[in-house]
Point group: D2
Chain length 344, copies 4
């Protein structure tokens, strides 16, 4: 059993504690938070767990094997670095850090010490996203032409990060996972509707090379909650709607066929295919449960997590580029990614 | 009764002929098309109407008062200019012309000859869009913060225009009409998935001044048909879903309230309001019927149409800027609009 | 070309005329209606067709091969019998007659004269219903366990027939067609909410033998329009939602499995299967077009129509029983059907 | 603080324990269940609570003020009677008992001892149902004409009760609460698709006097989960869809108007009104939390619960009649209800 500590008991922390406690692979030794009322809540819910307002106490506790960090983004780097230096395996809330440079430093430290560094890209562990990856990787969709996602709702406005860092991070982690794509350049626009607040509405285009284009629409000020992604392939296409109670993933046998005869008119050249739609049965295990078992596997075997430092870094690079582009009203920002596999 | 001729009997032409025939204010004298089979179809459906492959024959027919043009975009200017020069009132399919310079020239010619020049921005005449304009103009929504539209489906790929000119033209005409806004700058991205074909997927951001931002997502290669617009106001917000059989327009009494106390934390500063939603009853008269009666009114009274040359020009300016931006991967393009009302 | 006449130019008549005119197999010689304004409308829409207020004129016209009857139900029998006696093939609006006895007499007359007698059960000719029949007949669903249909909307209240005869007739014709089932007994309840008017809301249960049960919920006073049928099979199940723009038919690989071990508890005995769902591509040809081509085939070949007199009779027998049961607050009414195939 | 014990820790028991623990008005002293693994689960989840396989131990514990019973229906009466005789207040899972005679005996016992007897008709305490009651009671809908409910899904097949006692109980408790109606007669049909099992599909019609008709469609063997109720009023109509994430209740300003002129035709007599729809904002507190606070109020004040013995009895009377009718293929069963208010 891997003994864990959870730093930060806000919105997401209780889910981490509950799942660490019930995973069968891990136990929870302690919880820390700066707010007294959150510590009281933690102890009422999980009697017998140490609760402290001093994260360092947990990080340096020799009885702790791994530290999970679910605090505001700006504190991720310092806490994760301290935990790695104390010899702990680390799971960090998304996004992994505030800058790509910080992510690289964590990756180096973890590699040097042979510790597991993992980022909590939760959606990657859902039955829906894993099924989509299977469909894409098996070439069932043909060549992927576009990835188009909408993630909007009312609230929660953040102060320290804009809507891209809060919401688009999900879409980018999913897109990177299912497509195995590399973002080469980004352009983004957005707007703040609160004085001095960060942008609460934003639109990102991601150029991935070839004719693959990604787009993400995020908004904290929408009257309705939408979570819908279209993935267009040359053979089939997917609609992934996370608001559906069932049938979250629909696969459409639809597309165009191009008749190569240059003598025909343009419209005659293009045919439209429309076949059956099907919604595959999805695994329904809670994503966080799947994720924490994977974390335990990696800690025990030394394997690289699916959502390791590299995955965290790749997302932060796009977020950095997007925010910079947005501040310059859509200026194209190239991304210089380190070669895949250069660091683990 | 205004005697009309319809030039172009393709996809939209039959709707024009039928509505001109049944409006009670207009009659149809003749139809022209370059394709013999289309002329046969027109005559089978509307016996007694002159059918010709020579548009000039109708344009110069002294028995014709007005000419409706529903041909490919590239021919709009020449046909409309010829009709105006022949002293005919003109209704042109959207977009009004291929360039803003052409639109200005048609506007000048119509003004000089005191003829009606109208562009067929059909959606402006639907019950849904007119209701939305009422809600916006009455300040029911408060300040408008964003306009976010999705218009995607499978097909019909065009050769002579990209997806922006084919689909986004609808959203831009609606946005301009309901918001009375002025696009100041545009950035757009897109992609073609057919060799040498125009872009079939595109994303536009429109900056309208202040903190009002518009966005349009258009796609010819989507597995599902979506027609959904979110309009965010400081007081209320609208979801306009044209795929709904009824309740196309929903008004949400939702939003944020900003507590000015700078002493509180950022999150405490922002409150979320959530009240009733309502779906106003909409007028269900066919939009084209409403539009053609308005055309008849303008012809008879000399009044400026709601969708006159100015409205057509404003849309073409955004389309031009968007395509130019898209070809430069999101480069910001400023729009220098003539002052409102300078030309009719 | 089969020369047809259409008696009755109300709500449905124009669709009949248009489809007879465009089927490529039939032409329209004349239209009759008792109302002068309907005749004017017919002539404006279809110039060149004879319009008369005297149905007998068409029925006895030697130039007419077939007569389509789309008048109120109470007149179906007299008009159809007159047409058969005049040697015409007959297509009658649904339900075929007001009583099963009338239906039997029409069937006899048609058989004696070797004329085609067909009832316009339009839904049977839709791509959706034909696909459902294929799925059922191929045993893809396993044994059929239930058929549960809802058909509700606001209006149109009828005076001469109750809501069962107006709406449930559709469901019963579909159920009989896809299941090849025989209704053995019926119980129905309902209510009128208009003084002296027929029932505007009704619920029918149809016992079909074995453990197959049918149910139909019809209502003229619903705030929303619903058209949804569930068909439960021992292997798979169908949801048929006619209000869906696409994906009208969904096939669910869901059900229960019964573990025969009597030692286990009851709940352990029953397992729940949940697999993929798929929505087959449907043929989109207008149903009436398919139907009229089938009518032409039968007229020419002498074959028995899919929706011949027997199909019309079987539905009327259920309608009769249902109304009788409803007037007696759910009393069970047995149906004595003639043996299948006794009459054509 | 009211000290409670929960008898039965199966599907619903954990929700009772959690809400009793967090209500702020009650505490949980102990939990009992016959199954050892359920007791282990209870203790893991709620350390510090007594867990026993002997319900009598809790019922007779002088430290317990109130007992909540969430066991199979057949045991409700014995357990509740024992608890009342031990001087405890009682909350019983729905339906309150297996027979109306049992319900009357519990009511008598509770009245004699001045103890609170309440049945857990949970839906009555949802924001949606309370809002619907407000709308009906304020006469916003006009006269209520019908109540039409569908509650279908796949599973969970029961052995000891049929689908009416398992699912329709919800609809009947809601209907009785929002309409203040009295069922006068019932007719029901149904079918079992498992050998020797109770009916898994059923249809009930409830006659409530005047022209008010109720209907409930319940099914354990549906491929999709539906929870939808239509309530028709003479002025307005409601659609209550519990599967909606938001906007569960929609109020339609729709209906018919009857023109009294007997000279006009029947169809001219009836006009169709179609106005706005609105979805009122609903309170989102968890229903069980609202319910348990109401239970605490009643225990402390001696007031009669909204869902007291009388409400429980009224539902059981309909269930009894429905099952009897179903076994006789729809035979009408009259209900002889005791006069309202005769017993508390």
């Amino acid at each position: 059993m891997i003994k864990t500590a959870v730093v930060g008991y806000g919105y997401w922390g209780p889910n981490l504690v509950r799942n660490f406690a019930e995973s069968g692979r891990t136990t929870v030794v302690g919880v820390s938070d700066l707010r007294e009322d959150r510590l009281v809540a933690a102890q009422r819910r999980f009697p017998g767990i140490k609760a402290t307002n001093d994260a360092a106490e947990l990080i340096n506790d020799p009885n702790v094997d791994a530290v999970a960090i679910s605090t505001p983004v700006s504190s991720h780097f310092d806490l994760a670095m301290a935990a790695l230096k104390a010899g702990k395996h680390v799971l960090v809330e998304k996004p992994i850090t505030s800058t790509s440079e910080q992510a690289l430093r964590l990756m180096d430290e973890a590699a040097k010490r042979r510790l597991t560094l993992m980022v909590d890209h939760t959606f990657v562990y859902t039955g829906a996203v894993r099924k989509i990856r299977d469909l894409v990787q098996s070439n069932d969709l043909g060549d992927i032409l576009y990835y188009d996602s909408v993630r909007v709702n009312l609230g929660l406005f953040q102060r320290d990060v804009d809507v891209i860092w809060d919401l688009a991070v999900h879409d980018l982690s999913i897109m990177n996972y299912v497509l195995d794509s590399r973002a080469l350049a980004v352009t983004a626009t957005g707007m703040s509707h609160v004085n001095n607040g960060p942008e609460n509405i934003a639109y990102l285009t991601v150029f991935c090379g070839g004719n693959l284009i990604g787009h993400v629409n995020v908004n904290w000020l929408s009257p309705v909650k939408l979570r819908r992604t279209l993935i267009g392939g040359s053979r089939k296409m997917i609609v992934y709607d996370d608001m559906e109670n069932s049938e979250k993933v629909k696969v459409y046998d639809k597309g165009i066929t191009i008749n190569g005869n240059p003598e025909t008119t343009y419209q005659a050249m293009i045919g439209y295919r429309s076949g059956d739609m099907y919604a595959p049965q999805l695994e329904v295990t809670e994503a966080l449960n799947v994720e924490l078992r994977h974390f335990a596997d990696c800690v025990e075997s030394g394997a690289t997590p699916i959502t390791g430092g590299q995955a965290g870094l790749a997302v932060v690079q796009i977020l950095e580029a997007a925010t910079r582009s947005m501040r310059n009203r859509g200026q194209l920002i190239e991304i210089n990614q380190p070669p895949m596999g250069a660091v683990a």
